[in-house]
Symmetry: C2
Subunit: 356 residues, 2 copies
Amino acid sequence: MVAARRLPAEMPAAIPKELGFKHTMDFKQQVTVTLAEVAEAAGVGESTVSRVLRNHGSFSGKTRERVMAAVERLGYVPNRIAGTLASTGSRLVAFVIPSLSNIVFPDVLRGASAVLEENRYQAVFSVTDYDPGKEEALAAAMLAWRPAAVMLAGYEHTEGTVKMLRASGCRVLELLDLDGDALDIAVGFSNRAAGRESAAFLLKRGYRRIGYVGHDLNRDTRAGKRFSSFCETLAAGGAPLVAREILAGASSVENGRLGLERLLARTRDLDAVYFSNDDMALGGYFHCLAEGIAIPSRLAIFGYNGLDIGRAMPQPLSTIRTPRVATGQIAAQLVVADAPPQAVDLGFELIDGATA
Amino acid sequence: MVAARRLPAEMPAAIPKELGFKHTMDFKQQVTVTLAEVAEAAGVGESTVSRVLRNHGSFSGKTRERVMAAVERLGYVPNRIAGTLASTGSRLVAFVIPSLSNIVFPDVLRGASAVLEENRYQAVFSVTDYDPGKEEALAAAMLAWRPAAVMLAGYEHTEGTVKMLRASGCRVLELLDLDGDALDIAVGFSNRAAGRESAAFLLKRGYRRIGYVGHDLNRDTRAGKRFSSFCETLAAGGAPLVAREILAGASSVENGRLGLERLLARTRDLDAVYFSNDDMALGGYFHCLAEGIAIPSRLAIFGYNGLDIGRAMPQPLSTIRTPRVATGQIAAQLVVADAPPQAVDLGFELIDGATA
DNA sequence: CATCAAATTGGTAGCGCTGCCAAAAAATCC
DNA sequence: GGATTTTTTGGCAGCGCTACCAATTTGATG
């Protein structure tokens, strides 16, 4: 399937075989149909085609049909790159997220992408691995695409990132955190409040010797915020945190199991453990199952996130359900609507399960 | 928080308040620095700036410094839209995936995005909800961005999608399936082989009354392929499938639990159950825990995917581990390297856990 | 120091589209 | 029927960059 069209006039019509293409793919060069070709085929001007295709401006029904027929016949696919360059404002939305392993971010993407697709926006993403330096580099790379908006996790960004985002002129959405000052729009909930309520709940239930199992807090600053206000609330309630186990890696079921094992090895008489999230809590639950530790009578377990999996456990997990999908949806809606700067608190829900 | 920086010289330093901007964002208009401005500021030609920035072609060290200084000073961010339009071939890779809830796809994205970021490619994605019609629409939308490659799940596409992809001239990667004919490049493993080996394993272990719990097979065709070859192998082994429970929704822990409950209500004397994947299997495991059904003596459980969670269970889940992240990585590498058409079989690993 | 090759540099024509404007066609009015 | 309004249309200048080519500078050589 050799590209026969659009060869510059001064090229020989037939390319000598001796030139030797490396492999089949060389034939797959962009055989692009352009708007100008559609216009010619339909016997109308370029701008008319453009107007019809975008359904913008006026044109007669007859013209519309002729253009659509030509589009169909030639298999024309508009070039959004060119379109975006020529017009003001793109329909790209950039996501700069810390991780794809932590289910939180796929959930946010899911919520957002549904809304964006409906509105003919396109989602672009990259993954920072919770590294602020990488975030800066990736944010710069994203801005090069001149997106309509950039979505990031939380408020903790390098000075360079902030400066760049401010200067870019595009909308900036900071998600999943409300404890700080937003650059532009923030959508999420308060992690500090979540930590506080978790602690208050455990205290109210009568637990006094409470421990914590978490993953790397320096990287996941939102987990860090939950933890610190959890500790403050415990201390204020007269039952300060007894022990903690912080694992180096990412949050995972295995780390939760390992973490609880280590914590209990050091501190035997705990009556409750707060986990940095549900993955970790599930690991702790598994550890208890394996070791025959009765839940919650011997040891209570409390998580964070409210994953579906928690509901299906033999004893539903006590945890806090966060509106992850909704965060993505609302954020996307605000972008589409070009809403003014604001902070949207979606709240969270404490799930009074059977493990605490 | 008004953006005070980077106002064009000809603008008044102070904008009179009387003009009455609707909200703060009006200040955030695109105050874009262009390559031409950098060139002027650095006292060199446009093409020189372009060459320095792309580190392509030749230029002196002195020029390089002058250009970089100007870039720094002006806070120039190259416009990739314009760059892509002007050059041949983009550095966009489009992902058209069925779902973000099924961990498989975030895993693939994760593997791919790491490789793509290293090579300064950008990932774009959209979610089809396992709907081939939506896949076609979204694929068209993606092609409008003239990506270097489009990555899709599996081989089942509408005629329109196939035609469009063929005509587009961009690379097409079909992932996570090898049972069919690839359009261009395929990376993954055989779902039929996975179903076959799962069945063979259960037979070898001596299970004879085997059931199945799965989610919607019409939509997830790869799960369908596993199931059908699973059944064939059982039948060939003289122990055809005894019962099945197919749930309408997506795969989830809750559906797995519910599915097993329903299956056992109908068919009491099963000795093993094959689940459409690990989420479902975990749900089944929870059901057994809750009901006091001994695993694997009373009932064996076998999953698919080899999620980390399976390893942390009190009894490690017997399952098949699939190379999801690697699929993404390899696929991305093939795109970056502009590899010839091929099918890459990454295989899978049967995990002989403690539940079967 | 002239001569030639190599390294550097700037000018400029597009890439494919949109947005503006003016021209042409159709519809409406007196 | 002519004047005027309204609708429909085409032409063309960019959007910001890259690729190509020609011009210039630098370095090497005898």
